[in-house]
Symmetry: C2
Subunit: 207 residues, 2 copies
DNA sequence: TATAATATTGACCGAATCGGTTAACTGTGT
DNA sequence: ACACAGTTAACCGATTCGGTCAATATTATA
């Protein structure tokens, strides 16, 4: 059995624990400043097990990069509906997907964020590859075929969009640090914001 | 000349460079994961100089904690005007102060954020002290004597407040990581958001 | 229950890095 | 020529690094 297969043959629960420990550690401290011991401790196993499952620290990191890419791609490809043109409903849909991804791996976006600004030479090149692959992915989903005509005339949809992106970013930065954050509550709150904005930014005939 | 005096007698420019290097390093990686070499490199000086100026790593960290506390307190005490009761204008005022602080030390909020979740025993106690001192500071400024009556009846000012706090947090998390971010632009954008919300959330007679 | 196979770890390796020190080197004014 | 403050490269012992491995638990098979 090859090294990675040993990991893959673990129970889903155990795999998730290890992956989340690694995502959260790397996401918080970056590649270089994260030690394999950190991850092992966070996962509640011994350092030797990590090397048993992945061989090297770098292999683990690359594995996580690919995994995140796949999880996101699959989430959006399977659940995103481009026939929804309403601005807010599309954002709501994208957020639903994002949150359901976070439900499985709460630290995934903190990890992805840290990837963008990773400077260590050992993994820099590999990151560039995967980043190029997902380029324009988010923005395409956001704006392609989206209907901004329902807004009141003096409101710039792009400004609203930027606001919601920042809002989501604020949530991530808040939730990735705090320990006992409630994803369900977060989801509910975000939907309240969307309702609030929709109610006040759309022309009355569209409400 | 005592150790700290040596640092204080430096030119304002040099002091700022060193402080910002330390704030940014500690803010990014926390106390334990930040080495004195990291800070020295970021500041463009040798590691020995840091020890020459501050004696120990912990002394430097504590110095930064106090400094941040003082900078924020002074900023708000000198510039905050509690006679401004309008919800958005007060938020605008608080944001003006925050940004002017960030103009001098861009990484200050990233450092303060990281302080909240610092777990290292060597500095944990000292953090608790300063944190207790500033408790309720932000929330008092935010809500005391603030007028929420101008909002449309179906809008909860607290929800808007939370939204703007998250928005600001999103900005911090975005700006503290990116290298070439433009504070002036950030400021302008934030004001646009406030205008946008005010225009659409207030009853018409208050516009 | 005895044994073979597997899962897991504590202890260990050389190398790197840690916080901190110091002797020597710079430049500048006299 | 000298003194002197500012600065650093080289160094210190201690710790931690990524990674290995022999030994111990655990489980499966008989």
């Amino acid at each position: 059995m090859s090294i990675l297969e040993k990991f893959l043959s673990l129970s889903e629960e155990k795999k998730t624990i290890i992956i989340d420990a690694a995502l959260s550690s790397f996401g918080t401290n970056g590649y270089k400043k994260t030690s394999v011991s950190d991850i092992a401790t966070a996962a509640g196993i011994s350092k030797a097990m990590i090397f048993h499952y992945f061989g090297t620290k770098k292999t683990l990191y690359i594995y996580l990069i690919d995994l995140c890419g796949n999880i996101l791609m699959n989430g959006f490809n399977e659940n995103f509906d481009t026939s929804v043109t309403d601005f807010f409903e599309r954002i709501r849909l994208a957020t639903d997907i994002k949150i359901s991804v976070m439900k499985k791996h709460p630290s995934i976006f903190s990890f992805l964020n840290s990837m963008y600004l990773e400077s260590d030479d050992e993994v820099k090149a590999d990151i560039k590859d995967i980043l190029a692959k997902g380029e324009g992915f988010r923005s395409k989903i956001a704006f392609d075929g989206m209907d901004g005509s329902k807004f009141k005339d003096d409101i710039d949809p792009k400004l609203v969009m930027k606001m919601l992106v920042l809002l989501a970013e604020g949530y991530v930065s808040q939730s990735s640090s705090k320990v006992g954050f409630d994803l369900e509550l977060l989801h509910k709150e975000f939907n309240e914001y969307i309702d609030l904005l929709k109610r006040n930014f759309y022309k009355e005939e569209y409400l």
